[in-house]
């Protein structure tokens, strides 16, 4: 498959935190920062893609229009995308497709959220036909329940230990110390992690990502448009994968009660999580050996280890060795989550996949002060959300 590239002209964020203000405020701050970084006037933007938030009423459902109105109507068409944790990347992909199809030259992508405290909960009411509601009612299967199942599985299957999981948190907390946009900027030790309350055994409070307020935005454009603005060597997006699972999906996933049945049908060549990155590598025409840094979705510490294998940094069962050898620590061969990851940010759902792209953009430009991966040329982001969503973005310079 041969896919064209688009340029990242500008990136911007609003710091993550628990600010308790309207998500539109954060989105406007991030959008204006990205426009300023791109040196593009808002009125010249030809398409707006918003990552939806489902926790802020109607304005959240029509996020693209909400941000366009807040920035001042200027006539650009809008789209709003909801794809759970992959919402931001799905919004990015909608804008990218417009550019690659020649329907527009320059687009703004924005994701922002204001989140409630505690566990993410399903919609209210009696919702007896909604699996997201039923998993809470019938099983008490919170999101960390699924993370706990995966973590225990790693221990049983590969001999991972709670200390391995804790080391992921220690690493990411250290990475995030120098990121001005991160919410938690405090060093933690393995002892701190192991002393934090147990949530979903074997995972403790410091190993499960919080929910945060925050916003991130991108200005993307055609390579010709970038050249016309005097940007001859922009960060380029070489791939955006937003694949869904292939039947039968044999890994239990949120919010399901069961996997698909593999009875009488061949299992897919790749697991869903493997296929997310694989599709991106195919688009970009590169492989895992070409990746200089990765931002992976550490909803829990153990999930980061799963991702090492899903994106091909190592074979199944070898992630703990990679971590122990320092390969994924800043200074190692393929640093992972140099932004600090979700461990340092907490999750602002529709903004998070965009935050990942902001980070690799800064890294590829050499602007990630205090956490720079030297000589980075290729960055990869990957994430997964419930209801069969996932995304992977590859950027090059």
């Amino acid at each position: 498959m041969s896919v064209g590239e688009v340029a990242v002209l500008g990136v911007g964020m609003h710091p993550w935190g628990k600010w308790g203000r309207n998500f539109v405020e954060y989105g406007v701050v991030a959008a204006r920062a990205a426009l300023a970084d791109a040196e593009v006037d808002w009125r010249d933007i030809q398409f707006v893609a918003g990552g939806e938030t489902v926790r802020n009423g109607y304005p959240g459902y029509v996020a693209g229009a909400t941000f366009a109105q807040a920035l001042g109507w200027q006539g650009a068409p809008v789209v709003s995308a909801y794809a759970a944790c992959a919402s931001g990347a799905t919004a990015l992909n909608a804008a990218r497709a417009q550019i690659l199809a020649g329907l527009c030259d320059v687009a703004l992508v924005v994701g922002a959220d204001t989140t409630p405290k505690g566990f993410l909960a399903p919609n209210a009411g009696e919702r007896g036909d909604d699996p997201d509601w039923l998993r809470f009612r019938l099983l008490g299967a919170t999101n960390p329940t699924y993370f706990g199942l995966y973590a225990r599985r790693r221990m049983e299957q590969y001999g991972a230990t709670p200390d391995h999981f804790a080391k992921v948190k220690v690493k990411n907390a250290r990475h995030g110390l120098n990121n001005p946009y991160a919410r938690f900027r405090k060093e933690v030790t393995i002892e701190d992690v192991n002393a934090s309350p147990m949530v979903s055994d074997p995972l403790r409070l410091l190993e499960i990502c919080a929910t945060s307020d925050g916003a991130a935005a991108l200005v993307i454009c055609s390579l010709d448009y970038a050249r016309s603005r005097g940007v001859s060597n922009p960060v380029r997006i070489a791939a955006v994968s937003t694949v869904t699972p292939t039947y039968p999906n044999t890994v239990i996933e949120m919010p399901n009660f069961a996997t698909d049945s593999a009875f009488g049908v061949p299992e897919p060549e790749r697991s869903f999580r493997d296929s997310i990155a694989y599709a991106a590598y195919e688009q970009a025409g590169i492989g895992p050996e070409d990746v200089n840094l990765a931002e992976v979705y550490d909803l829990s510490t153990s999930l980061e280890l799963d991702w090492y294998e899903n994106i091909g940094l190592c074979a199944p069962g070898e992630a703990e060795q990679l971590l122990d050898a320092g390969v994924t620590t800043l200074g190692g061969r393929v640093p992972v989550n140099v932004s600090g990851g979700l461990a340092s940010f907490g999750e602002a759902v529709p903004a998070q996949a965009i935050q990942q792209v902001c980070e690799i953009t800064w890294q590829l430009r050499g602007q990630a002060e205090g956490r720079q991966v030297e000589g980075a040329r290729v960055g990869l982001t990957v994430n997964q959300g419930l209801f069969g969503h996932g995304s992977c973005v590859i950027a090059k310079r």
Binding site: G118, F119, A121, P122, A124, E126, R127, G128, D129, W133, L134, F136, R137, L138, L139, G140, A141, T142, P144, T145, G148, L149, Y150, A151, R152, R153, E156, Q157, P197, M198, V199, S200, D201, P202, L203, Y247, P248, T250, I252, N256, F257, A258, T259, D260, S261, A262, F263, G264, V265
Partner: protein, 161 residues
């Protein structure tokens, strides 16, 4: 003792409240406790819950889905114990009691199904591959009813009881 006899024994131990399913159609309500799923007439694919009339196997979009009982026994794929009270619509005991959720592999169906561990079982005894059996248990109750849900019990502890 058979699964059905054990289930009757457990059912009769509980109070004189009426036992009703916490959700209709997902498990048997009397006799042997079994999960109720769907099965495609052409492909033999299993589905849990059945809840949709159509097949989700893309190779047989028009196949009929029959209601079937899933295997009573499976093997533990993974498990986790939750120490924090989930938000509504979870119906917590007062005070809240930690509970364990299992992922169980069913050999015949070639699928993994979630369910809670019977609350009187100790999760410390679990390892992956342990054989478990499905049964009915009380999920929550009000003044009149006990709301029943499926739960898993390690087969070995049944012998020890």
């Amino acid at each position: 003792m058979s699964n059905a006899e054990l289930q009757n024994k457990r059912d009769s131990k509980t109070s004189n409240k009426t036992q009703v399913a916490a959700i209709n159609g997902w498990m048997t309500t009397d006799g042997e406790a079994r999960l109720v799923g769907g099965r495609g007439a052409e492909t033999g694919s299993y589905f849990f819950p059945k809840n949709m009339a159509f097949s989700r196997n893309p190779s047989a979009p028009s196949e009929e889905i029959a209601e079937v009982h899933l295997s009573a026994r499976g093997r533990v794929w993974s498990w986790t114990t939750n120490h924090y009270q989930p938000p509504a619509p979870y119906m917590p005991a007062d005070p809240f009691v930690p509970y364990t959720v299992l992922a169980v592999e069913l050999d015949e169906e070639r699928m993994v199904v979630l369910g809670r561990l019977a609350p009187d079982c100790d999760p410390a005894t679990l390892t992956s591959g342990v054989e478990v059996e499905v049964e009915r248990g009380v999920l929550y109750e009000d003044d009149d009813n006990q709301y029943m849900v499926w739960q898993w019990r390690p087969v070995a502890t049944e012998v020890a009881r």
